[in-house]
Amino acid sequence: QQKNECQIQRINALEPTQIVQSEAGFTEFFDTNEQQFQCAGVEVVRHQIQPQGLLLPSYTSTPILFYVEQGNGVQGVMLPGCPETYESSQQQFEGRKGGRSFQDRHQKLHHFRQGDMVAIPTGAAHWIYNNGQEDLVIIALLDSINAENQLDQVHRRFFLAGNSQNEQQQQGQPIRTWGRGQQGGSQQKGSNNIFQGFDVEFLAEAFNIDQETAQMLKCENDQRGHIVMVERGLSFVSPIMSREQQGQQQRGGRGPAN
């Protein structure tokens, strides 16, 4: 903290001042220039994610603690060194194409619902999916001056997918982009995912994939923003999801579980 940041003469109740709109929801930001936030060394954002909306994978330079104000969802946190303990048997994914089965294996998923507090460590990539029937609303605190954050005193978000160049000005609110505080100036260009900074050839070599697939990682023509709509719903290996899928199979329908 710099000098005088906590010499507060008056405290006011605050409301979000900026918004980043996406295909399946939006994120509101509180003004990080407010003396109260500067004194506390924190930032607050509010995500509103529509049903079947997916907050794309990203990681931040600060730890995050969030409260689920409304709805329920599922979260994946990619912790380095942890095994992919959620794995499908060959029977679970019956879809076959060209003789190849679609088995999947990934790290543990965490289901959460209204009233839950959820913690995400600094630098841990994570994604959030709204698998409920109503909007998922999350209030997240980002602890900018936490000892784990060795960058500057604003949170920086690094996206692994998508890009957020299609922000719209809404309700007279100024345009805001991910990854920079307001100190950096307004009307900045939107942030891209980190793969856009790498050469396609380099990505293809590192992933051992062809260049066309490597190009897809950059999401250069993706205008959906940072929260995208998953049209047919997200299917993943999960104890709760498996129960729902079983219920659907028994009913022979596609609707949500009763």
Binding site: L54, P57, Y59, T60, S61, G76, M78, L79, P80, G81, E84, G95, G98, D104, H106, Q107, L109, T122, G123, A125, W127, N149, Q150, L151, R156, R157, F158, L160, A161, G162, N163, W178, R180, S191, N192, N193, I194, F195, Q196, G197, F198, D199, V200, E201, F202, L203, A204, E205, A206, F207, N208, I209, Q211, A214, M216, L217, V228, V230, L234, F236
Partner: protein, 186 residues
């Protein structure tokens, strides 16, 4: 009890011995980490180090360090390094030669590939237990993602997503690509 702790503390640890390597890939190279688990005084310093050796065209998987800045000093050979910031902008994309140094800020994504002659480096990290998160390979963040997240995030087919997840079985040190048209040699 001071003399039983600090005074007798180990102050030296060799990091060049290949038999102590933490990661080893005959086709790509090896690297050794020195953190406070191995060398307890680093807990006081809040620093750690890595010694790395890459063979010709060997690759260090794209990664970010979750909790530390990384200062890389090339001791031998050369390598190409790309560094990307939170805006997805390439902030460094160049060859780094012997006796040159690069600072990689915390969380910035980085990928390295050795030149023809291979490369070795020493890197200093500003955390006594720096944690790396890779983007490609067996223990990477991409592997930890469900296929459905990959297909929707990157708007790709399940086949492409599977290829993306499983084409690399190595972890941190990657051998040069086996796909001829994927090669982008330095």
């Amino acid at each position: 009890g001071l003399e039983e702790t600090i005074c007798s503390m180990k102050l030296r640890e060799n990091i060049d011995d290949i038999s102590k390597a933490d990661s080893y890939n005959p086709q790509a190279g090896h690297c050794t980490h020195l953190n406070s688990y191995k060398f307890p005084i680093l807990q006081l310093l809040q620093l750690s180090a890595e010694r790395g050796v890459l063979k010709s065209h060997g690759i260090v998987a794209p990664h970010w360090i979750m909790n530390a800045h990384n200062i890389i000093y090339v001791t031998n050979g050369n390598m190409r390094i790309q560094i990307v910031n939170d805006q997805g902008q390439s902030v460094f994309n160049d060859q780094v030669r012997e006796r040159q140094l690069v600072v990689v800020p915390q969380n910035f994504a980085v990928v390295k590939q050795a030149g023809e002659q291979g490369c070795s480096w020493i890197s200093f990290r500003t955390n006594d237990n720096a944690m790396i998160n890779t983007l490609a390979g067996r223990t990477s963040a991409m592997r930890a993602l469900p296929l459905a997240v990959l297909t929707n995030a990157y708007q790709m087919s399940r086949e492409d997503a599977q290829q993306l997840k499983y084409s690399r079985d190595e972890t941190v040190l990657l051998s040069p690509s086996t796909i001829p048209y994927a090669a982008g040699r330095v």
